[in-house]
């Protein structure tokens, strides 16, 4: 049972079954790790923001560095107009990053390895960006689908392609994160299973592979959170500064 590499993605109820009307909203292991990640973020950043010393201590430095990191990322990709959305992108980046990182702890559950979670985040971003675009530019936002400098003959085709690519944004955004996390964790589990099955004689090779994969997966965990946040910034940039 536990040797099944997909077993780690099972969601199960923790505590009693909670029903809201006819829908089941029970507290599950996924919910537990969402709560843990959020609490960890809040505790770390609260401690980092508490002291107001001129020379920062470690936690303060950490929080300030991540603040300026995200701020720089936003201003680089979306310009100064995206400042009001800073706190959302910061929360998003930190939430995805902490969920990914907590998933790297053995026996922990990876929240972001579930398509429904990443899809809800991506759909929310997609809808939010579309609403912002229409609010800023009115119907002029539809110009996003009509790139300038395209010959009239090609225009119908290009518009269709642009619309499809725009509509596929939430899917690509969510599937990228989900598939990366799932694939990485599955692979680690598979190699871990090899270590057990090959035993003390032949298990060293998959073990060393497993160690290398752990490092790679930590990199991927950070990178995917970064990609998620930066793609959000890019979509936001499209909505804020319409220059296609």
């Amino acid at each position: 049972m536990a040797s099944n590499p997909m077993y780690q993605f099972n969601v199960y109820r923790i505590g009693p079954e909670i029903k809201l009307g006819s829908v089941d909203i029970s507290f599950t292991n996924a919910s537990l790790f969402m709560v843990i990640s959020s609490l960890a973020i809040l505790i770390i950043f609260n401690l980092g923001a508490k002291k107001k010393t001129l020379i920062p201590d470690k936690l303060q430095l950490l929080s300030e560095l991540s603040y300026s990191f995200v701020a720089k990322m936003i201003s680089d990709t979306a310009g100064s107009k995206a400042k009001p959305y800073f706190s959302f992108i910061f929360s998003l980046f930190m939430f995805v990053l902490f969920c990914n990182m907590f998933g790297m702890i053995p026996y922990a559950f990876t929240v972001t390895s579930h398509i429904i979670v990443t899809f809800v985040l991506a759909a929310f971003i997609f809808i939010g960006v579309t609403v912002i675009g229409f609010m800023k530019h009115g119907l002029g936002y539809l110009k996003l689908f009509v790139p300038s400098g395209v010959p009239m003959v090609l225009l119908p085709l290009i518009v269709v392609i642009e619309i499809i690519s725009y509509l596929s944004r939430p899917i690509s955004l969510s599937v990228r994160l989900f598939a990366n996390m799932m694939a990485g964790h599955t692979m680690m589990k598979v190699f871990g299973g090899f270590v057990i099955s090959l035993g003390i004689v032949g298990g060293w090779l998959p073990l060393s592979f497993s160690v290398a994969l752990t490092g790679l997966e930590i990199l991927v965990a950070f990178l995917q959170a970064y990609v998620f946040a930066i793609l959000t910034c890019i979509y936001l940039n499209d909505a804020l500064n319409l220059h296609h």
Binding site: N4, M6, Y7, F9, N10, V11, L20, V23, D24, I25, S26, F27, T28, A30, S31, M34, V35, S37, S38, I41, L42, F45, N46, G48, A49, K50, K52, L54, P56, Q60, S63, E64, Y67, S68, F86, S87, F88, F90, S91, M94, F95, V111, S113, H114, I115, I116, V117, V120, L121, F178, M182
Partner: protein, 196 residues
């Protein structure tokens, strides 16, 4: 044409769903919709709380911290610049004072030297004048003495010759004739000397 496309889409969707649910039963718990609603619900709650607390409480503090640090550093740099400028000014003043005092010292030295040289020159001039006067008076005296010495010599010679004659002859001779002879003799001597 349109009908064909729609049918194709439906068929692919159906195939996809079939494979998806096949995958679920084959072991992809992500595609089991049993806990989807629960996950969405808890995601909204946790992320919502995280977002609100970060926005309202924590991020303003961090940005405040960063701002104060930035402004404080800028202030410190400004004060440092000001102090640097002041010290540069002081150094300039100091150098000016040193230069002035150097010039003054040089002037003092030159003045003193000139004074001393003047003094020396004056004293030397006075001394030379004194010496010249002394020399000229002595020369005058000498020339006077030379002038008067000729008469005296003839006189003495006349007296001596008168005395000698008296001793030799035993009686006095007319002193004026003796004097005339002596004078002649002296003249002759003088002429001889001049010839020689």
């Amino acid at each position: 044409m349109l009908k064909k496309i729609i049918i194709l889409v439906f068929v692919t969707c159906f195939a996809c769903f079939k494979t998806v649910f096949a995958a679920e039963s084959g072991g992809m718990p992500q595609l089991n919709p049993e806990f989807w609603i629960s996950q969405i619900f808890w995601l909204i709650i946790t992320f919502g709380i995280l977002f609100i607390v970060l926005t309202k409480v924590i991020l303003p503090k961090i940005s405040d911290n960063l701002e104060t640090r930035k402004s404080q550093i800028l202030e410190n740099i400004e004060t440092a610049d000001k102090q640097k400028e002041e010290s540069q000014k002081k150094i300039d003043e100091y150098e000016k004072i040193i230069l002035e005092s150097k010039i003054k010292a040089k002037n003092y030295f030159n003045d003193a030297r000139e004074k001393i040289i003047e003094d020396i020159n004056k004293k030397r001039a006075a001394l030379e004048k004194d010496l010249d006067e002394e020399i000229s008076s002595t020369e005058n005296e000498l020339s006077e003495f030379k002038k008067s010495s000729g008469d005296k010599v003839t006189k003495i010679a006349a007296e001596t010759s008168a005395e000698l004659i008296k001793e030799l002859i035993g009686e006095g001779v007319n002193s004026s004739s003796i004097a005339a002879i002596v004078e002649d003799q002296a003249k002759m001597n003088k002429e001889r000397k001049d010839v020689i």
